[in-house]
């Protein structure tokens, strides 16, 4: 409550900067929306529940996009919700297209814009062949940085363009939000000979950007780490490196790649949900024999070496390793 920054800012700005106002506004808004129902069980109860759900990150479920992207906490919560709800899809080993991932996103947020999904897919697919299939983990990590740092990435794209065209990016202060700008990628023309920009210079610019950026941006140390490994790199090279990096820990929304398919609590819940089905099928416990069938016949896209994705839970680790393999495969196809 008494953090030192608090004294540096007027109260109102402090609340705004911490997004407390956003939640207060939203809470009142929700209250307005359902005032009859809520008044039945008490306004105090409502506020308790509201701020509890904000803390738990469940407040973003089925909400409109403008709210979901309003605060970093909302973004992280949404990422986490997406991961939790559709982890099973990734676990099944299905490779999906950008549009299908978009559909899944829309299940949680009906007005989720296609543009964001496209950008995320572009990070995975290196901007070409947008109809290609992606593994869940590839998409998820790319989507993470695209969604969480979306404004930051816009600015980075602008800076990158300026660097490419030889301008001094530091003179550019307002990042343009025109999304088409960074699509003219240096795949043709003079840039193809010397692809990308020089990493140190790029880093300098980014550091500068991080300093003055009002939206959330990745920790400069991480950026430095990514950029210090190479001499030159392209915009998408940067994004791919960033998405592969342990930016998770910085965000805290998603587990590490290795643990991506691991969520014992929900798995238990799923088993409980599936019980009636097995009882119907009259082969309780024989999970493998039941599921091997449909998986073989209905999901031909499943890479053959990912055997039966529905192993009993204690094999979850192994499945992870295999899905890592599929990631490598998509990497190969990109180059």
């Amino acid at each position: 409550m008494l953090s030192p920054e608090r004294l540096a800012l007027p109260d109102y700005e402090y609340l705004a900067q911490r997004h407390v106002l956003t939640y207060m506004e939203d809470a009142v808004c929700q209250l307005l929306e359902n005032k009859e129902d809520i008044s039945q069980y008490g306004i105090a109860r409502f506020f308790t529940e509201y701020f509890n759900s904000v803390c738990q990150g469940t407040h973003i479920l089925f909400r409109e996009f403008s709210f979901i992207q309003a605060t970093p906490h909302n973004r992280a919560s949404f990422l986490r919700a997406f991961w939790r709800c559709f982890r099973t899809v990734g676990k099944n080993g299905d490779l999906l297209t950008m549009r299908e991932y978009h559909c899944l996103l829309q299940l949680l947020c009906p007005d989720f814009p296609l543009e964001l999904t496209q950008k995320a897919a572009r990070i995975v697919l290196m901007d070409d062949a947008m109809d290609c299939l992606m593994s869940f983990s590839d998409f998820l990590f790319a989507f993470q940085i695209q969604f969480y740092y979306s404004e930051f990435l816009e600015s980075v794209a602008a800076i990158y363009q300026d660097l490419l065209s030889g301008k001094n990016p530091n003179t550019v202060i307002v990042p343009t939000s025109s999304s088409g700008q960074h699509r003219q990628r240096p795949t043709s023309g003079e840039a193809s000979m010397l692809e990308g920009v020089e990493a140190p210079l790029f880093y300098q610019c980014l550091e500068n950007l991080c300093d003055r950026h009002k939206y959330s941006c990745p920790p400069p140390a991480l950026v430095k780490e990514v950029l210090s490994n190479v001499q030159r790199l392209t915009f998408y090279g940067f994004l791919v490196a960033l998405s592969k990096h342990h930016i998770n820990q910085a965000l805290g929304a998603l587990p590490d790649k290795g643990d991506l398919m691991h969520d014992p609590a929900l798995d238990e819940e799923l088993e409980r949900l599936l019980l009636p089905f097995f009882r119907l099928a009259q082969i309780p416990g024989l999970v493998n024999s039941v599921t091997a069938g449909p998986e073989a016949s209905c999901l031909p896209r499943t890479p053959p070496r990912v055997g039966s994705p529905w192993r009993p839970l204690h094999h979850a680790r192994k499945v992870d390793a295999e899905s890592d393999g599929s990631t490598e495969e998509t990497d190969e196809s990109e180059t």
């Binding site: 007027p10 109260d11 109102y12 609340l15 106002l21 207060m24 506004e25 939203d26 808004c29 929700q30 209250l31 307005l32 929306e33 129902d37 809520i38 529940e49 509201y50 509890n52 759900s53 738990q56 469940t58 479920l61 089925f62 409109e64 403008s66 919700a81 939790r84 709800c85 559709f86 982890r87 099973t88 899809v89 099944n92 299905d94 999906l96 297209t97 549009r99 299908e100 559909c103 899944l104 829309q106 299940l107 009906p110 007005d111 929900l266 819940e269 949900l273 599936l274 089905f277 097995f278 119907l280 099928a281 039941v290 599921t291 069938g293 449909p294 209905c298 999901l299 896209r301 529905w310």
Partner: protein, 690 residues
Amino acid sequence: MIPGKYRSVSGRAASNVNCGLHLVIQASSLPEKNKVRFKQVEFKLNKETPSFPGRLLQHDLERNYSSRQGDHINLVSSSMPSFPILQRSSEEKILYSDRLTLERQKLTVCPIIDGEEHLRLLNFQHNFITRIQNISNLQRLIFLDLYDNQIEEISGLSTLRSLRVLLLGKNRIKKISNLENLKSLDVLDLHGNQITKIENVNHLCDLRVLNLARNLLSHVDNLNGLDSLTELNLRHNQITFVRDVDNLPCLQRLFLSFNNISTFESVCCLADATSLSDITFDGNPIAQESWYKHTVLQNMTQLRQLDTKRVTEEERRMASVVAKKEEEKKRESHKQSLLKEKKRLTINNVARKWDLQQHRITNIATNQDRKDSDSQDHCQNDGSTISAFPEETGSLDSGLTSALQGLSVTDTHLVEVDGDTLSLYGSGALECLDRNWSVQTAGMVTTVSFTFIEFDEIVQVLPKLRIKFPNSLHLKFKETNLVTLQQFNALAQLRRVDQLTVDPQGNPVVNFTLWKYYVLFRLSHFNMQKINGTEVTQNDMIMAERLFGILAHVASSELPQYHLISILGDARKKQFRYLLETKGKKPGIVNEENNDSKRLVGESTNRATLNYTTRDFYNEKLEEIKEKKKFCKIYIEDLVKEATEINMKNEALQKLWPQMFIELVRDAVMEIRNKNSYMKLCLQQITDQK
């Protein structure tokens, strides 16, 4: 002896032949009467007795003669090397002054016949003659028989103006020609040649019998001018169609057996040949058809014989009955095809509009487009006539009970009920759900198919569909812009869905790997049987649950209650709003429906939160939210500002307070420092007060 073709010409031929033979015997025994008899024959030929095929008689008669006469003939080599000269004894000349028979003489050329100008009958049967020659002087010749020779061209006959019977059967003639001067020809026999075309006969106005059997004719044509023709034999050709027969005023017998006629249309002129009484079609493809007999009889009421069998009254009556039925059927099918065509055009039109709407018209196949648009225009022109249609079929609700097909056609949409299927094309068709369908029709419909309609528009009428067609089990979607998985959520509000068919055309969602599982998951309370024609298995269900079960769990158990209420409330409100609109007058039903919907919600508690609001509705909602947000923002801003101000004042007070306190204490201390004077002062004050 009698050539086969002749024997089969007519069933009655045999008796005539007998008759002829009889006469012959008479003639030979009484030579004097011979001339008389011949005249009789001649007379008969002129008389044109229809029931008496005189030519047969003639033919047989002469053949019999020749066999008797041959012995008395001397063929003397002439001075000219190539042509033999024929001479007969004067006796013979007297005996058979008007006839000469040179049958089976192995002649390769026609001999020069001298001093026989009175000859009226000449017979060259069964020789090897290749060319008709040396007979131009026989100007009184009436009968010329060249049957079974090797003649390749009709020639050398121009002077024989009185020739009445010309028999050229079984030769090698390729073309009918050089008959210009034979104006009084009565019988022309050209059977067994290689003629491909009927020509150069139009001037033979006295010709009664024409035999063209066993030739190479491919069609019958060019018959005008043959005003006396009563019998035409065309058996054993390759005729596929017959024309011009209606230009033969006297034709009675027409033999078309063993040709290649397969439709009645190709011989339809026969219907107008009023004098025709006897016809044969046997050995043609047409005779194999089931409709053959009654079609022929119906179209040719003048017939007395068909394929050598007498046509009975019964048959005629049958034919007319069948024909009438046929006619009705045709009319019906015509009507059907008309409707079908209209349907096709309308669907085309709807499809085009849809394409325009979807901005999918490309530059490819612009020609085709133009053609299409032509037909569209046509359809639109028809619009005025079609527009009467919905009215007409407006009674379809009641009329449909008996009829299987009802069509309501307009330009922009199409509604069709075919058996148990209700097909809707174009968004306008959705309005039909507002109509009052008969209970029976509504109950019968189990399949509802949507084509060229935005799914979002369909969603809005689903509650109506639920009420109007309670038995609909199978939903079909084609070209409906199903793009996202969440759109399937909307189907959950239906009563029952057993089968779902989503055509990949115009529904990109089908390309997704997961769509089937999502449908199974979201609509699991329906216990779906089939998706896109594939049976749903237990494994599919498990898979669906595995993939999306957590989503449902998260949605139901982790959703904060206030939000859950708002989501469910929306759905309930939506339903309620519709029910109020339509069934407001009957509160009883509202209650029932309400209970129903509650039960439905209960069935899928944990996935009821996964619902779908159409884009328009959602945008509306977002607008609403925006408004509220604006208000909330201002409200909160004011609140917070007030609070911060209070806080600031409070803080300022807090900051000042210690100093103030010290000052206060200091003042107090200073005041009481001089105890005596302070006491004095106090006392003074007390006394002053009194």
